[in-house]
Subunit: 329 residues, 2 copies
């Protein structure tokens, strides 16, 4: 048996901000059978997470230390992403047809993967599958680990979150509130307004300064936050949305502030905090039921919508976690 | 009894790099007597530490959060500095005439201080007084706390130290070596050569990348170091010599590097690590005897030499700890 598999790929390396015309929709025929002993698996993709970081691998010049091997060929490769899928054919003893799985899939209707891919069976815990791409998935862990492990918040501390309507920022704001912190989130459709809305009103929102800045944007915002931080302030550096599309606009926080205020500026990746996953899931999954932590999702329909959904991230088009629903469950 | 007290003060606020002509030598008559109950003390100053940080308070525009109160009047004030002195008259029960003390004195032949000043009796431990202004003083504690507490080095790690012939950098290099690290120090007479000597040869000196960067200069050097750091690299931000004199040249390390390499960039002040003082002194004082940690001192003679000694710091004129000997012991 054979299916027609639609997938999204890059026509050309991206320069600056990604455009829809950088991508193309292709189709190929995919045999729904595997060589015995191959350890492979074919999955029908259901939901895919739309995140900014794949942009790194779509650019021509890029440090291999950052992005791992395989960059050279990205214009000819399927594009990887975190998502939920259903197993259609399996030559892997750990999975069987019909299993719902979560992990690294591709921007495609079907993904064929090897044994070593990061995929695990999904226990939906009574929640919609889309939750496991966002609030209970990798971006949820990013918010949880970044806020609790990197920022080490104390009750009553003053927290600033940038890109606060985005997938991670939105959750950080909620965790901070649940933890008894004072929180100001900032969001805008363009990087310039991120900056302006905060820089102009920082005194008003933070008359006593900022203790924690959860940075999803970098650039001017980071500089403005550092200038307003308190002694022993912490900056968790999570994203650089303003620099992804304008590499000239780099954050240059005042180093004298960093010294005199004894600040810590720390980058992190959720993958290093996988040990927190159970804590994270049990803490977080208690809240959607009570309504305190209801997810903010922005779901588009159909594989064809991926290029629009992805490019929109860089202009702040999404409100909450951007997800594309590829197929019905 | 009365003495003529020579002291150095600022004629005008400093713009950019300090010039000798920004300072003037003044004299005043000082009565060597105190009002009973005043708690005051008059000291004859012996050695004074020459450090870059007082420059912050010499500029017209400066955040009070950084420098503490009293900035406005600095052109009319005596300039504070760390040093060793001998008590001449005391109305403070904790000190008596002839005591040798260490702490905050002034750029003067004699300092009259109140009870609340940071002064303690000095146990010379068999070392020359000058050691207690440098290797066994505040700049030694800065090197010790910054390297061991902020960088948390492991044996065999690769360490880069900027301004490595300066007072703190020199000690950090030695601590790193004693701790079994691979160390490269960089020094030059101008910030540009700091940058060039490293940027051009970073691959040669660090074929396996940098684990720890002890930053005394900021600017281009910090950017170059961050670009060459390993995963989980640490940057201790101690000084900004390149930015003190050129506020336009701010470090803008690549934030994607900071995230993907999960780096920590941390500012610190030795004062927060006073609890380490005994450890620091006992660790450090074992070494001058064995010759492993012999101090690199750059001592000028006489109060008059302070303006030249201070301004020279910003051009890298000093080799090792810059000290001015004000009077014979």
């Amino acid at each position: 048996m054979e299916v027609t598999n639609k997938y999204v790929t890059l026509k050309t390396h991206v320069e600056g901000a990604p455009k829809e015309s950088d991508f193309e929709l292709k189709t190929s025929l995919l045999a729904l059978s595997l060589n015995p002993g191959s350890g492979e698996m074919i999955m029908k993709n259901l939901y895919v997470s739309i995140d900014p970081y794949p942009l790194n691998r779509m650019k021509r010049y890029c440090s291999s230390q950052r992005t791992g091997p395989g960059f050279e060929g990205i214009t000819r490769q399927e594009i990887e992403a975190y998502g939920v899928a259903k197993v259609v054919v399996s030559d892997n003893v750990e999975f069987e047809k019909g299993d719902v799985v979560v992990g690294v899939i591709t921007w495609a209707e079907y993904s064929k993967i090897r044994r070593n891919k990061m995929i695990r069976k999904l226990d939906p815990l009574g929640f919609p599958f889309s939750y496991h791409v966002g609030i209970l998935g990798y971006c949820g862990l990013t918010a949880y680990a970044g806020f609790f492990e990197i920022c080490k918040p104390k009750r009553g501390e003053k927290v600033l979150v940038s890109a606060a309507s985005g997938s991670v920022g939105n959750l950080v704001g909620r965790y901070a509130k649940l933890h008894g912190c004072y929180v100001v989130g900032c969001a805008g459709s363009k990087q310039k307004s991120f900056f302006l809305c905060l820089f102009l009103s920082m005194d008003g929102y933070f008359p006593d300064g900022i203790d924690i800045y959860f940075d999803n944007v970098s650039g001017d915002m980071q500089e403005a936050a550092v200038a307003n931080m308190n002694t022993f302030g912490r900056v968790a550096v999570c994203g650089v949305i303003s620099e992804y599309i304008d590499s000239e606009k780099k954050a240059a926080p005042d180093v004298l502030d960093v010294i005199y205020k004894r600040m810590k500026i720390q980058g992190f990746l959720a993958g290093d905090h996988a040990g927190l996953f159970q804590d994270f899931v049990s803490t977080t999954s208690n809240h959607p039921h009570s309504g305190e932590l209801c997810p903010l999702e922005d779901i588009s329909d159909g594989l064809d919508s991926i290029p629009f959904a992805f490019t929109g991230l860089f202009w702040g088009d999404n409100i909450g976690k951007k997800i594309v629903k590829i197929a019905k469950e």
